[in-house]
């Protein structure tokens, strides 16, 4: 957690009193929830649908949340687990009838590592970040990225390599 327990408790209480503060809880947790959902969802559009559902439900039910010293994200993971199960039921994926597990300690650490990586991407120089966005989020080919950025394919491959090397270096510093 990047906030102290007390800070998080105060923020939850503030959001329960004034729903406009809910976006602060969203900002702190959206990457975690997305990372958890994404590795189970099978596609980007499903991951986005389910993540949306999680925060819509969390906002609707925030008043029922009782602070028991457990991180807020654990509650969100539980909602996400049920939302994934609902999605699978709708899609008739009978082999996944039961809600998936919420993260154990090992997965929790893995998710935190990914969240740190996502935040490092946000801080990359613009051109490198754009290449990551187009290659991994938009699934564009090197040729398409080169056309969009008005650069040669070779230059884009260099940017891609530099972005990953920077992320590896920074992740080492942060990890």
């Amino acid at each position: 957690m990047d906030v102290s327990t007390d800070e998080e408790r105060l923020l939850i209480e503030a959001a329960q009193a004034d729903p406009a503060r809910f976006v602060e809880l969203y900002d702190r947790n959206v990457d975690r929830v997305y990372a958890y959902v994404s590795r189970r969802a099978g596609s980007r559009s499903v991951a986005e649908d389910v993540t949306s559902e999680v925060f819509e439900q969390a906002l609707s039910n925030l008043g029922t949340f009782k602070w028991r010293g457990v991180p807020f994200v654990a509650w969100l993971y539980r909602i996400a687990s049920n939302a994934l199960a609902d999605h699978w039921k709708r899609e008739r994926r009978d082999s996944h009838d039961l809600p998936p597990d919420v993260p154990d300690e090992r997965e929790h650490q893995d998710l935190e590592r990914r969240v740190s990586l996502f935040q490092l991407v946000d801080r990359l120089p613009d051109a490198q970040r754009q290449v990551i966005q187009m290659r991994f989020v938009e699934d564009r080919t090197i040729r398409e990225v080169a056309a969009a950025l008005d650069r040669s394919e070779g230059a884009v491959k260099q940017l891609q390599l530099r972005a990953l090397e920077n992320l590896r270096k920074d992740a080492g510093h942060h990890g």
Partner: protein
């Protein structure tokens, strides 16, 4: 592969990852392996367009919640609701030429007629209860007055039985009862006046049927997001669920106070709806400011209700009413 330059080798790995989710070959290459692991994680990097859109939606929703619970707000997009006993904030109002629709609802859904009266100069007004919901019917008595058919989602105990009763009562099948992938067994009926009845029985504990009342308006639009935005600005609607696939929204749901409304992307079926509020004058002004067209300014009616009448951008009519 090792003869190639590192940027080209990495690019081949990323191509394989994006296409097949497979970077196993790269893990044997000590120079590429750590980058390939990182690339595998980046496949789960969230779209920042998505996270920003969702944030904006939640922010708008919390703003609406705040203004609705604190009464008429400076920002304007709010409404206080004054619902008639037995009704919800939104009630479908179905215009037809004669009493055939009321008969159809009684025969199909075991609807109970709770009220009937004359609307001077406009025909007969009927109110029927279906399950825990109300439906209003206006019977113009004149064939030349066009019907305004609507689409309604109706939950029943046994869709197969109700569907058969609808056919026997003169309904036309638009789709036989079948288990649908969204958690309900549903069949679709068009009545003699063109209204669509999406008749459903919940399948499983997570079905929508457990969150909705017996009858929920299902509004069609080609711009669902824009339409919900209008309803938010006009009536204080709060978006609840939006499923979007490839830029199309097959299903969405919003709520105006205690009334759910569902949406789908399709040709509009402009109908009419009653909206109960405390202050019809200010909500009427708010709706006009949001882009509605005035059909008649708020006035006290013979029934004792005060009603303003508008047409929204999709063509639906809204009776903005304070009950007597």
């Amino acid at each position: 592969m090792a003869d190639q330059l590192l940027p080209d080798r990495l690019d081949e790995v990323i191509d394989a990852l994006v296409a097949r989710g497979d970077a196993s070959a790269a893990l044997r290459d000590p120079e590429l392996a750590p980058l390939a692991r990182m690339a595998a994680d980046l496949r789960h990097y969230p779209s920042r367009d998505f996270t920003a859109r969702l944030r904006a939606r939640l922010e708008r929703r919390t703003t609406m919640t705040t203004t609705m619970t604190s009464g008429p707000a400076e920002a304007g997009h709010s409404a206080d609701y004054a619902v008639r006993e037995g009704f919800t904030t939104v009630t479908p109002y179905i215009w037809v030429p004669d009493r055939g629709l009321a008969d159809f609802l009684v025969r199909t859904f075991d609807a109970i007629e709770t009220s009937v009266g004359e609307i001077p100069g406009h025909g007969i007004h009927r109110e029927l209860r279906i399950g825990d919901s109300m439906v209003m019917i206006g019977e113009s008595g004149r064939a030349e007055v066009p019907a305004r058919p609507v689409a309604l989602h109706v939950f029943v105990t046994n869709v197969d039985t109700t569907f058969a009763k609808a056919i026997a009562a003169g309904g036309m099948s638009l789709g036989e009862p079948a288990d649908r992938p969204y958690g309900e067994r549903a069949g679709f009926i068009k009545d003699a006046y063109g209204n669509h009845w999406y008749i459903a029985t919940p399948l499983g504990p997570e079905s929508l049927g457990h969150h909705l009342r017996s009858v929920t308006p299902y509004l069609h639009s080609h711009d669902v997001r824009g339409y919900i935005d209008f309803l938010a600005r006009a009536f204080g609607a709060v978006e609840e669920v939006v499923h979007e696939h490839g830029g199309v929204i097959p299903y969405a749901r919003a709520r105006i106070a205690d009334a759910a409304i569902e949406f789908g992307t399709a040709d509009p079926m402009p109908g009419a709806y009653f909206l109960y509020v405390v202050d019809p004058d200010s909500v009427y002004e708010q709706a006009l400011a949001a882009g509605a067209k005035s059909l008649s300014a708020p006035a006290d009616r013979p029934s004792g209700d005060r009603i303003g009448f508008i047409e929204d951008p999709v063509g639906n009519h809204w009776y903005i009413a304070r009950p007597a």
